[in-house]
């Protein structure tokens, strides 16, 4: 009974649903506020994403007659659930809710599900704009998955030594013993590549080809209204937190104070810095890329950085 209750607490409160939601929405709010300040605007209040979420919850949900109702309504929920499960696998420094010998592989698979949910939801809505959006989303996913896999492989090899170490828990423990991943110079190219993967995974400005709102009217989300749209917007906010938390686990996992609450606080602080660094700043200074440019950028520059790190790690540096 007790184990069941602690499991429930982990899934619903910390580090599960409540924690991820609150911090994700906070990060999204900070992103909008800092972006506004960079453009010399006052900007919306930091709680604006919360207002947006609850407003959309209260709106009427329209299901288009051309849509497949079941897929249209379940897709956002599937994305949300996979993101919450993802956070259970990512360690908050020394603390992690679930851990296994190969949770990095699980994380890799779970990371694709929000994108797939967007594709399924968009294609179920039966709109031609959504069709363009999902084809772009697929290309973007192919573009950033390759560097992401190479980044994870190089960290796994570095932490594992002779063999590959696919357990995030062990990688964090290795970093606690040997210094953070970002301070090993052979992993610095991988860290840079990962920083560039984060905005594409979340879908912020220069890489938001799928949801280009000025061009194809938010692509896959075009027919969504009310609660399903709210959940999709929440998914974007959660992705911000999950991706930055994954970066922290891979490259700054060595910081450990021993107190879970303090660890969580440090994690949130690092996530805020990372959000401003790799999403807000990049958003403020760039315009949207074309989808073929995005693909080229990820398979040459970013994949090149990740490959450099992989080679350096593999020859034992």
């Amino acid at each position: 009974m007790m184990t069941f209750l602690t499991l429930l607490f982990k899934i619903l409160v910390f580090p599960g649903f409540l924690f991820v939601t609150v911090i994700g929405l906070l990060l999204a709010g900070i992103d909008r506020k800092v972006l506004a300040r960079m453009q010399k605007r006052v900007g919306p209040p930091i709680v604006q994403p919360v207002y947006d979420f609850f407003k959309l919850m209260g709106k009427e949900t329209i299901i288009p007659s051309a849509a497949n109702k079941a897929a249209f309504l379940t897709a956002p929920v599937v994305g949300l659930v996979s993101l919450v499960v993802l956070m259970l696998f990512i360690p908050v420094f020394s603390y992690s809710a679930f851990s296994g010998s190969a949770d990095m592989i699980v994380v890799l698979y779970l990371l694709t599900i929000p994108g797939v949910a967007l594709i399924v939801g968009g294609s179920a809505s039966g709109s031609p704009y959504a069709g363009i959006g999902i084809s772009r989303e697929m290309v973007a996913m192919m573009a950033y998955e390759l560097p992401l896999v190479m980044v994870l492989l190089s960290v796994a090899k570095k932490a594992g030594g002779d063999s590959l170490c696919f357990s995030l828990q062990d990688i964090v423990a290795w970093q606690a013993a040997n210094g953070c991943g970002a301070f090993h110079w052979s992993l610095i190219p991988a860290a840079l590549a990962m920083l560039l993967v984060i905005p594409a995974e979340v879908g912020t400005q220069p890489f938001d080809v799928a949801e280009a709102e000025t061009e194809i009217c938010e692509g896959p989300l075009i027919e969504y209204s009310g609660a399903p749209l709210a959940v999709f917007k929440l998914n974007t906010a959660l992705k911000m937190f999950v991706m930055t938390a994954l970066f922290t686990a891979l490259f700054f996992g060595g910081i450990d104070t021993g107190i879970v609450a303090l660890n969580a606080l440090i994690l949130v602080a690092i996530c805020v810095v990372l959000t401003i660094l790799c999403m807000t700043t990049v958003h403020a200074v760039t315009a949207r890329l074309k989808v073929e440019h995005l693909f080229k950028f990820y398979w040459t520059t970013v994949a090149g950085l990740a490959a450099a790190s992989l080679v350096l790690v593999w020859i034992g540096l």
């Binding site: 909008r32 506004a36 453009q39 010399k40 605007r41 006052v42 900007g43 919306p44 209040p45 604006q48 919360v50 207002y51 947006d52 979420f53 609850f54 407003k55 919850m57 209260g58 709106k59 009427e60 949900t61 329209i62 704009y129 709102e213 000025t214 009217c217 938010e218 989300l221 075009i222 027919e223 969504y224 209204s225 009310g226 749209l229």
Partner: protein, 148 residues
């Protein structure tokens, strides 16, 4: 508990969808000016939405040409409840200088209920923001009146 929060949020995050029904582009420019860093309507939560499905407030500019009338009404029907209709400039309110033309169907009030009318040819961005803010307040009241 949630109903109160939802009603408050509805007034705090109004998303705008803009329909041009044959406007001369003057009002459209002023609406965009209201969203730029100088006037920054985003501090009240206003955001320009790309599709009527995401919108709360529909801003109509132009004297409603006969060609655009049916399309406008169809667009307004696609907006989920609660919603507000705002007319921008004198054209959709009275027809302005186009009044009496065979191809113009203004005023908009003949076809749909208009919540806020921003007058002027063209209205200043300050007036646009004030009008939209009033629309957001009406939106909140509409949400409170909705029985859930």
């Amino acid at each position: 508990m949630f109903n109160k929060l939802i009603a408050k949020s509805t007034g705090k995050s109004p998303w705008i969808f803009h329909v041009n029904t044959g406007s001369c582009n003057g009002c459209d420019i002023e609406l965009v000016a209201a969203l730029t860093p100088r006037y920054d309507a985003e501090r009240f939560g206003f955001k320009l939405a790309g599709t009527p499905r995401h919108a709360d407030i529909v801003v109509v500019s132009g004297p409603i040409t006969s060609q655009s009338k049916d399309r406008l009404i169809r667009t307004l029907e696609q907006v989920p409840e609660p919603k507000c209709v705002v007319t921008l400039g004198s054209c959709p309110q009275s027809g302005n200088v186009f009044k009496g033309s065979y191809s113009v169907e203004a005023p908009l009030e003949k076809f749909v209920h208009v919540d806020v009318a921003i007058a002027g040819c063209t209205p200043k961005p300050e007036a646009v923001i004030e009008g939209l803010y009033k629309a957001a307040e009406i939106l909140q009241r509409k949400r409170e009146a909705m029985k859930k």
